[in-house]
């Protein structure tokens, strides 16, 4: 199913993500990597009180669509697969992979590339390539 190409909204949205990453580093000295923040929250031995700002970050992330709908008066469009077995497997791979590889699209993709990190560049190229190959197989071969 085709989606509309939205260069302006996507560029502006991307810049907001960048602004968020700069604010989090300037204020709290932390990388705005969603999997990293969430994983450390789940790790009770290392987490606890010092990770509370991370909990607030997650709250903000979850509250954002409600704020968006209040500001702009419209709920954004979303199409999520109803193949629950596939979504369950995907969730497991995403959670395991981002925690095991120390980063996801935000940590390695946005923040890592902005630090000019070779490690993040390799990770980003790897997950982009595997994800594109996965989509090719599921949409064009199966």
């Amino acid at each position: 199913m085709a989606t509309e190409f939205t260069p302006i909204a996507s560029l502006l949205g991307g810049m907001l993500i960048g602004l968020s990453a700069v604010i989090l580093m300037a204020a709290n000295g932390r990388i705005a990597g969603v999997s990293g923040i969430l994983t450390r929250l789940l790790d009770f031995k290392l987490g606890g009180i010092s990770e509370r700002p991370g909990l607030f970050f997650i709250f903000g992330l979850i509250a954002a669509p409600v704020v968006y709908a209040t500001l702009f008066g419209g709920w954004p469009e979303q199409t999520v697969s109803r193949n629950f077995a596939l979504m369950a497997a995907a969730g497991l791979f995403v959670g395991f992979g981002s925690a095991f590889g120390n980063g996801c699209t935000s940590g390695h993709g946005v923040c890592g590339l902005s630090r000019l990190s070779t490690r993040s560049l390799v990770a980003t190229c790897t997950f982009m390539a595997i994800a594109a190959a996965t989509v090719f197989v599921t949409r064009h071969l199966i």
Partner: protein, 140 residues
């Protein structure tokens, strides 16, 4: 630090919604180069890096953040099998669903059934990864 975290999370989430990345269909279409390709995600990454790269460069000239003792910039630069295995597993799940951790969390309030199946499994996956490799507290 809590308020700064909340504000950063809100702005991040608004960015995800505005950019269209809270919709897995847009992400999957970015990955579907030979099909119904939608290049929007490249503009999201470009916009984000265009702000973060100079922002981080300016911050590195300062000695410490406003509310914490140090900047926690990651220091590792080695390419180990764990990084590649993790990125490959993440890429597979991302390609199957169109969800990565940020958009999946932001999508909670849309309450799509697929999202509500995806999220607990994602959390389980993270817990499993920490069981397999407990000493991995480093960000990114």
């Amino acid at each position: 630090m809590n308020i700064a975290g909340l504000i950063a999370g809100l702005i991040f989430g608004l960015g995800l919604v505005l950019s269209g990345m809270a919709d897995p269909a847009k992400v999957l279409n970015f990955l579907d180069i030979t099909g119904t390709w939608d290049p929007s995600l490249a503009f999201v990454m470009g916009g984000a890096i265009a702000v973060t790269l100079p922002g981080y460069a300016l911050l590195r000239r300062r000695t410490k953040p406003l509310f914490a003792k140090t900047f926690a910039f990651p220091s590792r630069n080695d390419i180990d099998p764990r990084l590649l295995t993790g990125a490959a597993s993440f890429g597979l799940g991302w390609g199957l669903s169109g969800f990565c951790p940020g958009p999946a969390l932001t999508a909670i309030s849309f309450a799509a059934p697929g999202t509500l199946v995806f999220l607990p499994m994602m959390v389980l996956g993270m817990v499993l990864a920490r069981r397999v490799a407990p000493n991995s507290a480093q960000p990114a």
